[in-house]
């Protein structure tokens, strides 16, 4: 019966230490993110931070926020570290935008400004960004109509059937593999494709990605 008296105290101690550990983890992840960002911000290039905790994508330079995009939903496959930095190696889309080839005018033609150009509206909304270290970020548009909602059912099917196969494939080659699927508003998905260029740095911040 005597031990029962100590039970509340024990409970307080245990839950208290859990809270301290949680706070410590949060501070630790923030510290990792800041350290990583500081390294990248010393260079004069634009970089992006995929903050999955706060469901935001930030385009930054020198630590300065240039543009913020909202993530509607996301899911993470694989064991990503809380802070993962990498260079964008490749952007792939089924219908990537095509650059216009300018035809030099004949000498007697009057020069007119070209209006066949690449605009934001020409950017795809459904594409994959591959970061170094085999981290792929699949960007999907938020379905806006009934038909697109129905069509988007294929994404979870692809996700749960395709990702395990890719994981095994990469494991056979002893390579790490992690994947993130992000759903954005259509205009934001286009903006990200436009602004995030190959060779740029990215930080993926996913402190809660562990199962």
């Amino acid at each position: 019966m005597k031990c029962l008296r100590w039970m509340p105290l024990l409970f307080i101690l245990l839950t208290g230490s859990e809270a301290v550990s949680g706070e410590n983890d949060s501070l630790k992840y923030e510290n990792q993110l800041l350290e990583t960002e500081l390294r990248i911000a010393h260079t004069p290039q634009v970089y992006s931070i995929f903050d999955l905790k706060n469901k935001r994508i930030w385009l930054k330079a020198r630590g300065l926020l240039l543009r913020e995009l909202n993530i509607e939903t996301f899911r993470v496959w694989g064991n990503l570290p809380a802070v993962k930095a990498g260079t964008l190696i490749r952007k792939s889309a089924l219908f990537p935008p095509r650059r216009v080839l300018v035809n030099p005018k004949a000498g007697d033609e009057e020069a007119q400004p070209s209006v066949e150009t690449l605009e934001l509206k020409d950017m795809p909304t459904n594409y994959t960004l591959v970061l170094e270290g085999n981290v792929s970020i699949s960007v999907r548009p938020k379905p806006t109509r009934l038909l697109s909602s129905l069509w988007s059912i294929r994404y979870p099917v692809q996700w749960y059937l395709g990702r395990p196969v890719l994981t095994v494939w990469h494991a056979l080659w002893r390579k790490p593999f992690a994947s993130i699927e992000i759903v954005l508003e259509e205009s934001d998905a286009r903006s990200l494709y436009w602004s995030f260029l190959e060779g740029m740095k990215a930080i993926v911040f996913s402190p809660r990605s562990r199962p």
């Binding site: 634009v46 330079a61 802070v83 216009v100 004949a106 605009e119 790490p176």
Partner: protein
């Protein structure tokens, strides 16, 4: 019925193999610790006091803030064709702009190629000119199907760049335009075009050394 059995068996084996691969994939994906988080790192953090971490993070945030530009700076969102004049987080003014068309020009003999993109990243205003005269580069003549002049004087064109020009890199300028109806469209060869009044405001606000961020 006899013919169907081997097919069913094969299908069953394939399905079983696929399920094994799927299960292995799930197991491999979530089994191991993240590559960059070692046991020693975790132990080190456990021993770190929250107060110390808070102080360290505050210091890091301050260092990061120290990289921000001092005073007025220019931000150009090429996707939304907008130029912002900003001071810290405050937007002083915004203007409709035009930037690089992204198109490609190849010299008829195939020797040289130009991609008309506006460069991205951090730059600074390196020069400021009133009533700039455009010294047309080779591509301007090739695009117009004209011979490239040998004399520099034949390359000069007045009025094409508007009333002011701010140079921010090797051959790139923020300048005016004769084609104001095309403002907001990405039609340039890499420079950033503004309307007359907006250009005047930027010219007045941005000194030499003013940071320019393009994305």
């Amino acid at each position: 019925m006899r013919h169907k059995r081997p097919i069913l068996n094969t299908l069953f084996i394939l399905l079983a193999a696929f399920l094994v691969v799927e299960a292995t994939g799930f197991y491999l994906a979530f089994r191991s610790a993240p590559e960059e988080e070692t046991v020693s790192a975790r132990e080190k953090i456990k021993s770190e006091r929250p107060g110390n971490l808070k102080a360290r993070n505050a210091q890091l945030r301050e260092t990061l803030g120290g990289l921000h530009p001092q005073g007025i700076y220019v931000v150009i969102d090429t996707g939304r064709s907008t130029l912002y004049l900003r001071d810290k987080k405050r937007v002083i003014s915004e203007a409709v702009a035009s930037s690089g068309s992204g198109s490609i020009l190849v010299e008829p003999n195939g020797r040289r190629k130009w991609v008309f993109d506006t460069p991205r990243g951090e730059f600074k205003v390196e020069s400021k000119t009133r009533h700039p005269v455009w010294r047309k580069p080779d591509w301007a003549f090739i695009e117009e199907g004209k011979p490239i002049p040998k004399n520099v004087a034949d390359r000069l064109e007045e009025g094409a760049m508007g009333d002011y020009a701010l140079g921010f890199g090797t051959g790139y300028f923020i300048h005016g335009t004769l084609y104001t109806r095309l403002l907001g469209k990405n039609v340039t060869h890499g420079c950033v075009r503004l309307g007359d009044e907006d250009l005047k405001a930027v010219y007045r606000a941005a000194d030499i050394g003013t940071k320019v961020y393009i994305f």
